[in-house]
Symmetry: C2
Subunit: 625 residues, 2 copies
């Protein structure tokens, strides 16, 4: 029973929007709608029963947690797994959007003055969930358990009292606080099969979340599958009671949906609780638990979505930022991606649950169908004892959910379900493009059997940009002559302060010392830039050298003054950093960038070293002079 | 006369806030105030006359433009020039704040419904001026000339008509639209000398801007000083007429100031124009020209402030970003600095001119005084023909402005003038700190007579971080073995995707090929990082190597995959860039960072080169194998 709050919260929360979604479709029928609700609910409960036996099998077959992505990947291959991944991703995003909007819908039913702040409140909840999850706050079990127990207990109490009064009054109970009158409507008596199919499609969102137990098997004590199955039974049992109870009371008390997104809006559960027990303290406790359970239901997506992104990214179908360097950072990207997309949906659909239902139904049933189909493939592939019986059960589940999916797709396509279809297709395309790029890079950089080539190649041509002759540039120049005999010092004169032409001093500073030791001296190139374009002139010069020596590497040694305090960086134009970036992006493929930092806070030892460099024995002495 | 709009605009604009500043101090006296206005105005005009003859001399002495900073630097040394620079900077900032707030004050006098948007309108004007100046829009002469001519002509017309009616009516003209009644006040009859000194101090802001001609001498045709002097005479003449005219009409029509920052506010000029000619079309043309002239007056600071920053920065008292790489970019920093500081002042003082006047008076008269004192020093130093006469004139100017400065400082210190004093002191401190830092860096990096040391030093110890064995890392490794025999390849295993331990393959890939040629093989160091801290582990390793070889350079060769499209960068963690930055900031003074980029869009030729490197004759072949 301890597993119910954690794994059942998501499934039970849907009892607060599924029946309402159904009733909202029938809003045009007025009170007549309540006559059809029990029958459609029975159909939904039947479908839920099929899902129940299907998931019982998944639990036993995948005791390590049978996420649709992994099961599909193992049994049906890449394309099916990407379809599952896309469906799950959309399902998670819409679970957030729908649960938050329904939670705020319950809140504004109890406190109608907040109605005009619906979207702001929704975004506030998403922001809160984002912060809590980014900071990695570990919610205690009680935070999940108490709202769930209050939710179930108070709704059970309402149903029990309502049923008792209905029976006692001979089927016509007097509401304590009467529900809204059904809106009279032009289409009042036009009950078509099409309308009922529509209602069924919307009501099916009451089933979302039942898959959670099959993903969470590892949290149970061994034998895990026994506990998991018992928990699933309990959750589905409670959900069935809630759905049937709501349907019964809707009919008995004549409770219909109110037009969503208008000032008359009041949620079905709010009307029901008020009708049965009135708007006393109990009402506020019950509605409070509804709000809490819905927000916690959105929170489950915040826990699961980053995990999904991670396993997709491990297979290289998403950027590696969803995997890399510590789970916390990687999960942050997933949390932000989920928060952003669900916030966009909430803004676009103005925080109205009813408008999000078609998108959610498609996403959820696509996830159910791929999951069931993958289980069919699993039994076909594994063929354990009495495999055909298992296969038949999951096949029934697959056919039932696939049929529902098709019904939803046909009846809801124009109402927004097309958006989910586009999102699923777009996601799959994105996954494939990402993977293709990684494969291309891996192919291009592959060097599996390439042994390291130790043959001496020509040393690079070295270019040292110098603004002036100082310790910073001397260090760079000294490093340059250490590894190549072909060194060019480039001085770009822009007419700005503090750059005097080195031409006249070059003989004394460089050429004569080199001649004394008989080594090649670096050449000085002075370029006058009329337009003060230091960077562009340097990059152009490097490219010019590259093109004149297309078979040589060009090493650019960038001197850089490093100051100890950040505000001191403001005093200098970040010319070294800009140059490094410019060379990397525009220097051409022959380039190697060498950065010789000169540290202001270490200048005294540095000066000493420059004046008299240590000349110890070592490998370096083996080189000729 | 063509020079009047460009160089006189700033001086003439002050006619619209100077007299009002004076009257606002006397608001407690009611209509009695108007009796004192002419006398105080005569005092101000007298002071203006002294400034006029002083600046006539500056024009002749500095035909290339006698900015207070340059003149003080040339004749009085660094400290005086920094005082001048600070005073000028504050003067420019406050000229923007005062002119914009006065302009919006004129606007809301004509359109009172805008009164509650005063601060927003002020910030809007500052934003507009910022954009126009950042984009470097070249204003045509007409943009300055037309508002100036309309301003002067309409105010002259108002003065002429007002004077004529006053004379015709025997000194008691009937106002067309009566001015606001003077507020009855407790202190009504308490006329103290202290109050009049206060009024004089505020009224002195009417003189601001007369220095513009002496800065702008070079724009005149030669002999420039003749044209400049003529223009100065014309400007001061017009200003005197405006000041005396406003004083006369204030007295004749009983026009007093209205309480600033309240709903009753109406500018003095607005009341005056309305009283003389009524609120017809002429009124709106006149007030429109006042608004335009004030905004253009603020614009002159936007032109001059960046120039001031530039000449200060050339002397290294401000960061080099105010000088560097193309005037446009450097000026942008000046424009933004001016816009930010004046916007802050406008917000803090709620866009109320009267609250800004004390700050402005101090800044302007400090600038006047340093400028005049520098001219005295100039004559003392140069001693041309009849130098003592010139010296006496500027000494009179210096004494007069210094006296006024002291009067202002004493009377206005508590009203906000202390802010200007703090700002001036803070600016001078900033200038000195900036220069001290540059001097320290120059001293630390000085290498004037250090000739380049060609003695062979030990080659660096090379560290090559590798995630895996691919073309990108092989390129880095190959570069590394090219210039040092001591190479360490470091593989940090974090448990993330795609990094298999290279230990088993190192013999085959690296050691055996090296042994075949008898050259030293790079060593492989594999580090398992339990906390997935790739960067920190690498930096820690490099620092460890540094500390074990304190006399050696440590070269870190960072392999980097460079992708052609920006969005492809999102697919990879920017590990190479982060590593380069981390090494630069935390690697220690022995570090040299070498970046070997590997270009995806050039991979085919690159692969070819790796497979068979060219072995041509050249300097590189002289090295031993
Ligand atoms: K559910
Ligand atoms: K759910
Ligand atoms: K779900
Ligand atoms: K003036
Ligand atoms: K001015
Ligand atoms: K000024």
């Amino acid at each position: 029973i301890a597993g119910v709050p954690i794994l059942g919260l998501d499934a039970l929360a849907s009892a607060s929007y599924g029946p309402e979604a159904l009733l909202t479709v029938l809003i045009g029928l007025g009170t007549l709608a309540t006559q059809y609700v029990p029958w459609i609910t029975l159909l939904i409960v039947g479908l839920l029963g099929i899902l129940y036996v299907s998931y019982r099998q998944t639990i036993a077959a995948y005791p390590s947690g049978g996420g649709a992505y992994s099961v599909a990947k193992e049994n049906m291959g890449t394309n099916a797994s990407l379809l599952a991944a896309a469906a799950l991703a959309i399902d998670y995003v819409l679970n957030v959007a729908v649960a938050v909007s329904a939670g705020i819908g319950a809140l504004v039913s109890a406190v109608p003055t907040l109605l005009s702040y619906t979207v702001e409140l929704c975004l506030g909840v998403v922001a809160l969930l984002t912060i809590v999850n980014l900071r990695g706050v570990r919610a205690s079990g009680a935070a999940f358990a108490i709202p769930t127990y209050v939710f179930v207990a108070s709704l059970f109490a309402v149903i029990a009292i309502g049923v008792a009064r209905t029976v006692a009054s001979g089927g016509a109970p007097v509401p304590v606080d009467p529900p809204h009158l059904a809106t009279p409507h032009a289409t009042t008596s036009l009950v078509s099969l099409w309308l009922l199919v529509h209602a069924f499609s919307s009501g099916c969102t009451a089933m979302t979340g039942v898959e959670a137990v099959s993903n969470g098997v590892p949290i149970f004590h061994p034998p895990a599958w026994v506990g998991a199955r018992r928990t699933l039974t309990l959750i589905v049992g409670i959900l069935v009671v809630l759905l049937l109870g709501v349907a019964f009371l809707s009919r008995a008390y004549g409770i219909t949906a109110t037009p969503p997104g208008t000032a008359q809006y009041e949620s079905v559960l709010s009307q029901m609780v008020a009708a049965v027990v009135g708007r006393g303290p109990f009402y506020y406790v019950a509605i409070g638990s509804v709000v809490a359970v819905l927000c916690l239901s959105a929170n489950t997506s915040f826990a699961d979505f980053p995990r999904l992104c991670r396993i997709i990214a491990v297979d290289r179908f998403l950027p590696e930022m969803f995997v890399h360097r510590g789970r916390r950072l990687a999960y942050s990207f997933g949390i932000l991606a989920l928060a952003t997309t669900s916030a966009v949906l909430l803004v676009v659909f103005e925080g109205i649950t009813d408008h999000l239902i078609p998108l959610f139904a498609i996403g959820a049933f696509l996830a159910f169908t791929t999951s069931q189909a993958a289980m069919v493939a699993h039994w076909w592939r594994v063929r354990g004892p009495s495999w055909w019986r298992h296969l038949a059960v999951n096949a029934l589940g697959a056919v039932a959910t696939a049929t529902t999916l098709i019904v939803i797709a046909i009846s809801k396509l124009e109402d927004g379900a097309w958006i989910s279809v586009v999102l699923v297709a777009g996601s799959i395309l994105l996954f494939k493009r990402v993977r293709a790029h990684y494969d291309f890079v891996a192919h291009a950089t592959a060097a599996r059997d390439v042994t390291l080539d130790f043959r001496k190649s020509e040393p690079p041509i070295v270019v040292v940009p110098m603004l002036r002759w100082d310790a910073v540039t001397v260090k760079a120049l000294r490093f340059a002559i250490g590894f190549s005999p072909e060194v060019m010092a480039v001085q770009v004169l822009t007419g700005d302060r503090d750059a005097d032409d080195l031409t006249s001093r070059w003989r004394h500073l460089v050429v004569e010392p080199a001649d004394r030791l008989g080594v090649p001296a670096p050449r000085l190139v002075v370029i006058h830039s009329r337009y003060r374009e230091l960077l562009r002139t340097l990059v152009r010069f490097v490219r010019h050298v590259s093109s004149r020596h297309p078979d040589r590497e060009i090493a650019v040694v960038v001197p850089q003054l490093v100051e100890p305090r950040w505000y001191q960086w403001l005093l200098h134009t970040p010319i070294a950093s800009l140059l490094k970036t410019a060379l990397l992006l525009r220097g051409g493929p022959q380039i190697v960038v060498i950065n010789t930092p000169w540290y202001l806070d270490a200048w005294i030892p540095e000066q000493r070293r420059l004046a008299a460099p240590p000349m110890r024995g070592g490998l370096g002495d083996a080189a000729p002079t």
